[in-house]
């Protein structure tokens, strides 16, 4: 039984292909202006790696903001449900997962899980891009750094600046004026990461703080945010090996379960 989960995010589209319950292939494509093309590209890439074609797949679950755009899917499920499913499957060395933080490109979310791994509550920040991957992207470009390097740079600072603005557009001008004031780049980047961590910590308060926290989404690769979050929350966070694939994995697992119900 071969199934597929596609997570069409605002920045990247991720695909996971399962045979029974094992991952046999996965791929990532940048979403850019066409989520539809990105989904097709990600799927065919994943299929090429294992010499299979679309007809070999019994069931496809699509998720993410572009979940309804593709035509080849069998079912759509929201990224929140998929995220919970994926994280529960991966598990955590910190014990049974109680809270998930997902830092995506266009939104960030905090999900609270019950004893069985079902979703108990969630909050999402998606009206404004502060506290999301998009925010990091804008800041990286202003500071002429690669987005992937921001976390490491942030960790080098001993004196993070305080970013006061709560809006990406205003933060951008705030950062530009900090540069003009001659503030150290490391300190600015560190301040940016700290401000994202602060927003997420606020969301955690809304759903109720729990001990075992799982941190995923592309943003979980940023070690600066990771560290600041741990400092603010006073607990260790677990980041899985490939944090950006958690939701696609969850979608593929839901595909198996949907097939069984047919």
């Amino acid at each position: 039984m071969i199934v597929c989960g596609i997570d069409i995010g605002s920045v990247a589209t991720k695909t996971v292909i399962l045979k029974d319950r094992d991952i046999i292939s996965k791929s990532l494509a940048l979403t850019k202006a066409s989520p539809k093309l990105a989904a097709e590209e990600a799927l065919s890439k994943a299929l090429r790696q294992i010499n299979l074609s679309e007809k070999d797949i019994s069931y496809i679950v699509s998720t993410g903001y572009g979940r309804r755009i593709i035509e080849f899917g069998d079912r759509t499920v929201t990224e929140i449900t998929c995220c919970g499913r994926g994280a529960t499957q991966i598990g955590s060395p910190l014990g049974k997962i109680q809270t998930i933080i997902d830092l995506g490109g266009q939104d960030s979310k905090v999900i609270s899980l019950d004893e069985e791994g079902g979703i108990l509550d969630f909050v999402m920040n998606d009206k404004c891009s502060a506290g999301t991957g998009r925010f990091l992207e804008v800041m990286a470009s202003v500071l002429e750094e690669r987005i992937g390097d921001l976390g490491e740079i942030a960790l080098r600072s001993n004196n993070p600046v305080r970013i006061n603005s709560t809006c990406t557009v205003f933060s951008e001008s705030e950062v530009i004026s900090l540069i003009a004031q001659g503030r150290n780049k490391e300190d600015i980047i560190s301040g940016i990461c700290a401000s994202i961590a602060e927003r997420i910590a606020g969301m955690i308060t809304q759903v109720g703080k729990k001990e075992s926290i799982f941190f995923c989404g592309g943003g979980a690769r940023n070690r600066g945010i990771h560290r600041f979050l741990e400092d603010k929350l006073g607990v260790e966070l677990y980041v899985p090996q490939e944090p950006e694939f958690v939701i696609a994995l969850g979608a593929s697992l839901i595909a198996i379960e949907s097939l069984k119900k047919i």
Binding site: Y65, E79, D107, G118, K127
Partner: protein, 419 residues
């Protein structure tokens, strides 16, 4: 009678005709109706209410009315007093986004969308607002207070000061407000609100409310007979429609529904309670999302919904004083508006509704900049959490730009409830 508005400075009212506003309203309304039709199983005579909400026919009808038309806001204004003066009350709270934009030419972006949308109708001299000879405004929140002042440049505005709580001293002050309003209406319409007229109109509105309660009970017994949006449509047409005709049509509707059988299996759909800031036609964005995703809005505590027709005015004896007292109590005590300092009544009502309608989840409509409702949402959320009743808060306004994001949240919430 004491004047509240001194009007020391009067300004030339800002007016601006906007082309195509009526068409835009029609388009927005038709979009809702299309979405509502997708549910299937709608009562036969729902088309009557559809026509009323589109407004064109009713507008012409009111235009030809020779008496006074008196506009009002919120659920605090006793329509008994207006009808008793042979005038017609029209509720002016609006949910139209295009008139928000009109209003933003003079008022800042960060102001309550409901107030701006309603005022935008006045600026653009369109719709029911233009037909009103006077308007009555209560003072539940800051934007409405200042709307009073702004509107006073355009037409006579009467203020009904809402007490901060429902204690006995507040009730006395409120009764005085109602009595002043009565005098004001008498002066303006040059009609004496006789004991007999009052008695008649109390009966008329009592009939409407009792009928509404009948409809409410029919839906409580079987929420699937009629969609939640259709239910709100019926309620909101009563803000504009000829009251006697509305009663006739709704009697017909109740008769029809009591003969119908269940359309959906019990518990086939997730039952949702909608609470929070007012949701007013054509701003059915959140409701459309919920019901398009297959859930059913089985009940609400909205002031633009059930709250506006549920209260009963029942005087013990038909003397003017007793009747005015009953009116005052009826409109004040039944309100669960967050304008009151302590609002336990609202929490009680929400908990009751959850039990009565066997609600699966609560969706809280938090209208952007509607601070009182926004603040209360936190308290309600915690109380519901203790009782293990899931609640989703949606912060939004009248624009359409966040439709997809709201859809994702509501869909995830429903997936969570389905488990």
């Amino acid at each position: 009678m004491k004047e509240i508005l001194e009007r020391r400075y009067t300004l030339t009212p800002f007016k601006k005709e906007i082309k195509g506003l009526k068409d835009a309203f029609r388009r927005a309304s038709l979009r809702n109706l299309d979405s509502m039709r997708k549910r299937g199983f709608r009562p036969k005579n729902i088309s009557y209410y559809e026509e009323v909400i589109l407004g064109e026919k009713r507008y012409e009808e009111l235009k030809g009315f020779s008496g006074r038309i008196i506009g009002y806001f919120c659920t605090f204004i006793p329509q008994e007093l207006i009808y008793a003066a042979r005038a017609i009350p029209i509720r002016l709270c609006s949910g139209f986004y295009d008139t928000v934009l009109v209003c933003e030419e003079i008022l800042a972006k960060d102001i309550c969308p409901l107030v701006k949308s309603s005022f935008g109708f006045k600026i653009s001299a369109s719709s029911y607002f233009e037909l009103c000879d006077a308007v009555i405004l209560p003072t539940p929140c800051d934007p409405k207070k200042k709307l009073i002042e702004i509107l006073s440049d355009y037409l006579p505005v009467w203020v009904l000061k809402i007490p901060q709580d429902k204690t006995s001293s507040s009730k006395e002050i409120w009764l005085e407000e109602i009595k002043s309003l009565k005098e004001r209406i008498e002066d303006f319409t040059k009609t004496k609100l006789t004991r007999q007229r009052l008695e008649e109109t109390i009966k008329l509105i009592h009939k409407r409310q009792t009928l509404f309660r009948q409809l409410y009970e029919i839906r409580r017994a079987n929420p699937y007979l009629m969609g939640g949006r259709d239910f709100l449509l019926v309620i909101q047409t009563s803000f504009y429609d000829d009251i006697e005709r509305w009663i006739d049509k709704t009697e017909e509707l109740c008769k029809q529904l009591s003969k119908e059988k269940t359309h959906f299996k019990t518990d086939e759909k997730i039952k949702i309670l909608v609470t929070g800031s007012p949701i007013i036609w054509p701003n059915f964005k959140l409701l459309n999302i919920i019901e398009d995703l297959g859930a059913e809005i089985v009940c609400d505590d909205l002031c633009s919904g059930t709250q506006s027709l549920y209260n009963l005015v029942e005087p013990d004896e038909p003397t003017t004083d007793v009747m005015l007292g009953a009116i005052a109590d009826g409109y004040l005590l039944s309100s669960v508006c967050p304008c009151f300092i302590e609002n336990n009544d609202r929490i009680d009502r929400v908990l009751n509704l959850i039990e009565e309608f066997r609600v699966g989840g609560v969706i809280y409509h938090s209208l952007r900049l509607c601070q009182l409702y926004e603040i209360e949402s936190h308290r309600l959320r915690l109380i519901l959490k203790e009782k293990k009743i899931p609640m989703l808060t949606i912060h939004t306004d009248y624009s359409q730009e966040d439709t997809e994001q709201i859809k994702t949240r509501v869909e995830a919430f429903l997936e969570m409830l389905k488990r």
